[in-house]
């Protein structure tokens, strides 16, 4: 009746060996699939990073032209009154043009001179203007000034357009190429750290455009988001997990929080537009509104992560504290919270990483505007890094391709620094039990 009982042990061993072979085969297949999956992931990450770094790394250095500028009183302040109004509105472009003419006296004719002037960034006069307004004693002196070359020159020098490419693609005439070569030979056209990219706000000129504005916008927005959503989220999680009674109402709240985590982010943007800007009359494009919207967006994530961190604290610790006569608040504050804090920080990291990458809800509240000034406060008009990436990706100038990738690199560095800080904090708070 029982076939096992009738077998000799040798027959059993043969059967076991056969099943072992089958088991080894399926284990091998499973491992191979796992290795494949991991390699695909690694490949995707490296491919993505490789592409972005390949496109964007060049942006951190830029071509600069060094010219000797004569702060000509005749041009800046012909009336000699040094009136701030006059200093602010003077034709500083003319100073740069004069310096170029002085450097290349053999270039003649209106058309040729215009081509010569095009080689220096058209936004450079602004730095002259700022310098003179701040320090009118410069007028009448001569000084070496380094200013960004035009983006077409920059791309040509970096080899991003070929020397022999058609003029329409190269965007430089033969005469301009000849001047660029002479500048390089004379040592006045040099590659330097791209101060504009790291120090400026947005600009229509690629060589003047920078991520500083967006970076500050992201910092302000995320800083306030963290300050709002972490304490609120943790407090909500503690109350729901440790104090609230379990009934229909709290179940409803729990379901709602879980559902909120799945709401498309643009809906939060619409909410922010209607409530914070429409109803409360808060300023448009401001980081304060952005962080309020992102707080709403990250709250469910923070609450859910914090609650599971609280759930993971062993009940024996609670019993120990309660058994000692600690009140419920003391039990939570002295014992449960310190143990749950690392998990809560992880939740905050996930929430903040999501908030950092969000652009859709911020479009709704006007953080997508073209903003040249670097924001100084929470109510200044600002944009954030992902929106800046989105804006630049849309522009026709080819030099913005590199700047788009450059902004992504800055965004990724921001993310890594933020996460590293959080991981460091988490490890400091981590305790074993």
């Amino acid at each position: 009746m029982n076939s096992t009982a009738n077998r000799t042990s040798k027959q059993t061993q043969v059967l076991v060996a056969r099943s072992l072979r089958r088991r080894y085969r399926s284990e091998f297949i499973f491992r191979a699939l796992g290795v494949l999956a991991v390699s695909l992931g690694v490949l995707a990450v490296f491919g993505l990073f490789g592409k972005i770094i390949a496109d964007g790394a060049s942006v951190f250095r830029q071509s600069y032209v060094t010219l000797e500028i004569y702060y000509d009183p005749e041009i800046i302040d012909p009336e000699g009154g040094r009136a701030p109004e006059a200093l602010a509105t003077a034709d500083y472009q003319a100073l740069i043009k004069a310096a170029l003419r002085e450097k290349f006296p053999d270039v003649e004719g209106r058309a040729n001179l215009r081509e010569l002037y095009q080689l220096v960034s058209s936004g450079s006069f602004l730095s002259l203007q700022r310098a003179v307004v701040a320090n009118p004693s410069l007028i009448g002196t001569r000084a070496q000034l380094t200013m960004p070359a035009d983006d077409t020159v920059d791309m040509f020098v970096k080899g991003q357009v070929g020397r022999n490419a058609p003029v329409a693609e190269r965007r430089l005439t033969d005469q301009q190429v000849a001047v660029v070569d002479r500048m390089t030979a004379a040592g006045i056209l040099t590659m330097q750290l791209n101060r504009e990219f790291l120090g400026n706000g947005d600009s229509r000129d690629p060589e003047q455009a920078g991520v500083r504005g967006a970076l500050m916008g992201s910092l302000l927005t995320l800083g306030l988001t963290l300050l709002l959503s972490f304490p609120i989220g943790v407090a909500a999680a503690i109350y729901l997990e440790e104090f609230a009674a379990r009934n229909r109402f709290t179940d409803l709240i729990e379901i709602n929080i879980n559902n909120l985590a799945a709401v498309p982010s643009i809906v939060y943007g619409l909410l922010g537009l209607a409530v914070f800007i429409g109803l409360f009359g808060m300023p448009r494009s401001a980081p304060v509104v952005g962080s309020l919207v992102l707080t709403l967006l990250t709250l469910p994530t923070v609450i859910i992560a914090s609650r599971s961190a609280l759930k993971a604290v062993p009940p024996s610790i609670r019993e120990a504290a309660l058994g000692m006569g600690a009140s419920q608040v003391q039990t939570v504050m002295h014992h449960v919270l310190p143990l749950a804090l690392p998990g809560m920080l992880t939740g905050a990291i996930i929430g903040m990483a999501r908030a950092l990458g969000e652009s859709a809800p911020l479009l709704m509240i006007g953080m997508v505007a073209f903003i040249v000034d670097v924001p100084q406060g929470l109510t200044d008009a600002a944009t954030v890094l992902p929106v800046q990436v989105f804006l630049w990706s849309d522009l026709p100038e080819r030099a913005f391709i590199a700047r788009t990738s450059g902004a992504i690199i800055v965004l990724l560095v921001f993310l890594v620094v933020m996460n590293a800080t959080a991981v460091y904090l988490r490890n400091r708070f981590e305790k074993r039990w």
């Binding site: 024996s316 610790i317 504290a321 000692m324 600690a326 014992h335 310190p338 143990l339 305790k431 039990w433």
Partner: protein, 273 residues
């Protein structure tokens, strides 16, 4: 016919033996505990004597731990639990809403089945109770309480040089003695012990049992145990629980040598459990 569809509820079994003691510290009368619709304890009445160890024995699920947790209202932490009946301590029913549980638990300490020191230093573990209850006026007084408690728990010699190390770095037996020291630091009147040795090896168990014997001079101790030998060794009075009923109470030697109830006898002689 319809009546037969109802599950049969066995009648409450009356307790054999004398549940009262002269000058009791705690008096429990007709205590019932429900978890939701399920009744875990039925009409348990028993007195808890001063300076004596009461052992509660019985098969798993008989309600002895549940009853123990009524004595310092630890059942409050279970939302579905409902306790009725009288538990008089110091002339007052501790079930009364006006009874402050924090104060109650400072007088009725508890040691749990699994050693559960706080993930803090050895010193902080013992100092926690005095701190939250405001028992020490200054640091030197706190030091004194911690030292004294560790000495009474028989742990001082082993840990005096490493008070700053985490309590969780100790061995299982040491951890359990640390938990006892932590309870002693609040100077309670009753110490409840819920199978305090079930996670320990025989040597650590023997040390705890010696400790219980010493502590009995000062405290009323109620211990739940699965080991009948342990009950016989450490207790002066034994209560036998069976399926939520308190079956028999009596002096420990009588329960183990000459039990009156058939169920007690079956359990003692190892016929089940």
């Amino acid at each position: 016919m319809l009546m037969n569809a109802q599950p049969e509820v066995a009648p409450v079994r009356a307790t054999v033996g004398d549940v009262t003691v002269p000058n009791p510290l705690m008096t429990c009368r007709n205590v019932d505990v429900w978890y939701g619709d399920k009744q875990a304890i039925r009409s348990v009445s028993i007195d808890i004597a001063r300076a004596q160890v009461l052992a509660m024995i019985g098969p798993s699920g008989c309600g002895k731990s549940t009853f123990l947790r009524c004595l310092n209202r630890m059942n409050d932490t279970i939302p579905s639990a409902r306790v009725t009946g009288e538990i008089i301590f110091d002339g007052r029913d501790i079930q009364n809403k006006r009874q402050d549980v924090v104060q109650l638990r400072s007088r009725v300490g508890m040691v749990f089945q699994k050693p559960n020191p706080f993930p803090k230093s050895i010193f902080e573990n013992v100092a926690y109770g005095p701190r939250i209850h405001g028992l020490a006026a200054d640091r030197s007084e706190l030091d004194e309480i911690v030292t004294e408690s560790l000495k009474r728990a028989g742990l001082w010699e082993e840990v005096k040089d490493r008070l700053a190390q985490p309590g969780t770095s100790l061995s299982g037996g040491q951890q359990q003695r640390l938990c006892i020291a932590r309870t002693l630091a609040v100077n309670p009147e009753v110490i409840l012990m819920d199978e305090p040795c079930s996670a320990l090896d025989p040597i650590a168990t023997a040390r705890i049992e010696d400790l219980i014997d010493e502590l009995r001079q000062t405290y009323a101790i109620v211990i739940v145990t699965h080991s009948m030998q342990q009950a016989a060794r450490v207790s002066q009075r034994t209560a036998y629980f069976h399926l939520g009923d308190l079956i028999e109470v009596g002096p420990t030697d009588k329960i183990f040598t000459n039990p009156s109830h058939k169920l007690t006898e079956d359990y003692i002689t190892g016929r089940f459990g």
